[in-house]
Symmetry: C2
C-alpha cells in the first residue's frame, strides 16, 4: 500500500490550528516528503511517521512557508541515526537555497544529493519505487507541480508461458522482468507477462494559477492534492494577483483531469472556515475533501 499523510493544510504562515502544507508518501517502508514548512517535523512527530526512512524531499518552490522547516528536519533526521544520503529535488535555485539554509545545519552525518529541475521543462526522476515527474507551473517564481507514480508489475500469464514453450523453471525469473538463456534459447519477460496494469498516481500542486498543462499532467490520478488558497469566489482578483487558486478552479482541474479524489489544501490564514465553500466545490467535483492536519489515505493497486 501507498500510505499518504497530509502533514498540514495551511498556506502563508503556520497557525495554531494549521501546520503548513506538506505531504509524506510511504511505500514499502521508504518515505518521500513534499515541501517542508516551519513545523513540518512536529507534524511528522504527532502522526508518528518517523524520520529515518525519509529518502527523498521534493520542493515545489522556495517561499518560506514551503521550506523553512528544512534545517530543523535535517538535524532531527541526523539525530535519528540516518547515514544514507537524502535526495532533495526542486526547481532552479535549489542549490543556492539549500546552501543558504545550511548555515544553521552545516554538519550532517549523511550526504545531500541535490537535483535541480529546469523550471522550463517537464522532468522525471526515479527514486526507489517512486517515479517522479515535475511540471513547471505559474507562481511568479520557479515553481513545480509533482506527480508520483508507483508502477505495477505486469501479471504472470500461465497460458502465454505455455504457448511460448517457456520451461517452468524460468517462469519465476522472467516474471521478475529478467531475461534468461536456457539450452541456447533466449527467453524474455514478455513471453510470460500479460498486459500493462495501472499503477498508483498521486499528484500535488501548490502554489499556482491553473494552467492548461496541469490538467494533462494530473490526468487520471488516484489522488490530486491541490492548493485552494481561497474558497470565496470574490477573492478571484487576489488569487490572480498572488498566483493562487480558488476552490472552484482546483475542482475544475480535478474534473477535467478525471482524477478520482481531490484534496484541497494551502488555505489562506484569512479563511477561517473552509467548510463554508465545500458544497459549492462539490457541485463542480463531487469527490472533494478538505485538507486537514494529519489527513490520511492508503492507496493499493486496483483489483
Amino acid at each position: 500500500m501507498l500510505d499518504l499523510c497530509l502533514l498540514g493544510c495551511g498556506g502563508g504562515m503556520p497557525t495554531p490550528e494549521r501546520f503548513l502544507t506538506s505531504m509524506v508518501l510511504s511505500y514499502n517502508g521508504r518515505k518521500l516528503l513534499i515541501d517542508c514548512g516551519e513545523g513540518t517535523q512536529v507534524s511528522l512527530k504527532i502522526y508518528k511517521l518517523g524520520f529515518k526512512s525519509i529518502d527523498t524531499i521534493l520542493f515545489t518552490h522556495f517561499h518560506a512557508d514551503h521550506i523553512a522547516g528544512l534545517p530543523g528536519l535535517l538535524l532531527t533526521i541526523a539525530g535519528s541515526g540516518r547515514k544514507d544520503p537524502i535526495t532533495i529535488m526542486g526547481p532552479s535555485g535549489l542549490c543556492n537555497t539549500i546552501e543558504g539554509l545550511r548555515v544553521i545545519a552545516p554538519s550532517l552525518p549523511y550526504e545531500l544529493n541535490l537535483i535541480e529541475f529546469n523550471a522550463e521543462e517537464k522532468c522525471s526522476q526515479k527514486m526507489g519505487a517512486f517515479n517522479i515527474r515535475a511540471l513547471p507551473v505559474d507562481h511568479g517564481i520557479p515553481c513545480i507541480a509533482y506527480s508520483i507514480y508507483i508502477p505495477r508489475n505486469k501479471k504472470f500469464d500461465r497460458q502465454m508461458a505455455e504457448n511460448n514453450n517457456v520451461p517452468i523453471k524460468l517462469w519465476n525469473t522472467l516474471q521478475k522482468g529478467e531475461n534468461c538463456k536456457y539450452q541456447n534459447v533466449v527467453y524474455t519477460p514478455d513471453m510470460v507477462l500479460g498486459k500493462e496494469r495501472r499503477g498508483i498516481k498521486v499528484s500535488y500542486c501548490t502554489d499556482s494559477r491553473p494552467t492548461s498543462d496541469l490538467i494533462q499532467f494530473v490526468e487520471n490520478s488516484n489522488l490530486f492534492v491541490c492548493e485552494g488558497t481561497y474558497g470565496d469566489e470574490e477573492k478571484f482578483q487576489k488569487a490572480v494577483e498572488y498566483k493562487h487558486m480558488l476552490f472552484s478552479e482546483s475542482a475544475e482541474i480535478a474534473k477535467q483531469a478525471n482524477v478520482e479524489e481531490l484534496w484541497l489544501t494551502h488555505f489562506s490564514p484569512s479563511m477561517i472556515n473552509p467548510e463554508e465553500y465545500l458544497q459549492k466545490t462539490r457541485n463542480i467535483f463531487s469527490n472533494t475533501v478538505l485538507g486537514r492536519n494529519g489527513l490520511k489515505k492508503s492507496l493499493g493497486f486496483e483489483n
Copy 2:
C-alpha cells in the same frame, strides 16, 4: 510593568508538547524577543502577543533550535504592516547567519540593523527602555547570556529641591533628567532627585556550562531564566560533553547570584517529566519554577 512570556521550554528540537525556548519581554508596548527557534511565531500567536511591536531580537547563538524560526517570523512581521527597522543582536557570525537564512526571506518592508557582539567581551546596548548586557558563555560555539535591565527614575525629593532653591517651575523638567538655565543660573537634575532606585533585571542563559562570570552577571536579578537541559544527576557527563547544565547547576547559580526567582527551561526531549527533579532542585534554590509553554510573569518596580 514588564511583561514576560516564555514562549517555549524545549531544547534541541520542537516537539508536540514543547515549543523551543524563546522569551518575549514587553514594556510600554514595545517588545524584545530572545531566540527564535522553529515554531516561535506560532507560540507568539497562541499567547496573543502580536508581531508588529517587536523592535529587537537577541540571539544567544546560532544552533538551529534557537534561530530556525527567524525567516518565517520576519515574513509574518512584514505581513503585520511594520515599516520600522528591527535590530537583531547576537554573537559573532550573526551577519553571515542572517544572510544565509534570508535566502528565503529576501524582501522585507523594513530594515534589519545587525549588531554583532564580540564573543570575547562583555558588551552593552540600549534599545528603548531596555538596557541590554551580553556575556560570553561556554557552549562550544560563540554563545551569549543576556541581562535586560529597565532602569528606574530617581524619585523627586521636594525637600532637596527647596534646599537647593530650585524654582518650582523647573521641577518638572529637572525631574525628567534635563538640565535647565533660568535667570543665568544652571540647575541640574541631581538638585531635585533622590537616591538611585532599583530597576528591573531579567537574565537569560541558554545554552552553556556554568561559568564563574555568570554568577556575577545575573546577580540580584528579579528573574533568572536558565537552561536546565537535564534533571537527572546521572546525566552529568552528557551535560559536560554537550555543554549544557543540570537542574542542580542552574539552581546553584541562582542561589549564589541571589536572584529572586529561577525559571528552568530548554529541557532535553529525552526528559519526559521535569517535575520528577523539581523538589531536589528546590532544596538548592527554593524559588525555582519549571518552564512551560506560555509561562507568564509581570514585574513592576518595588515599592
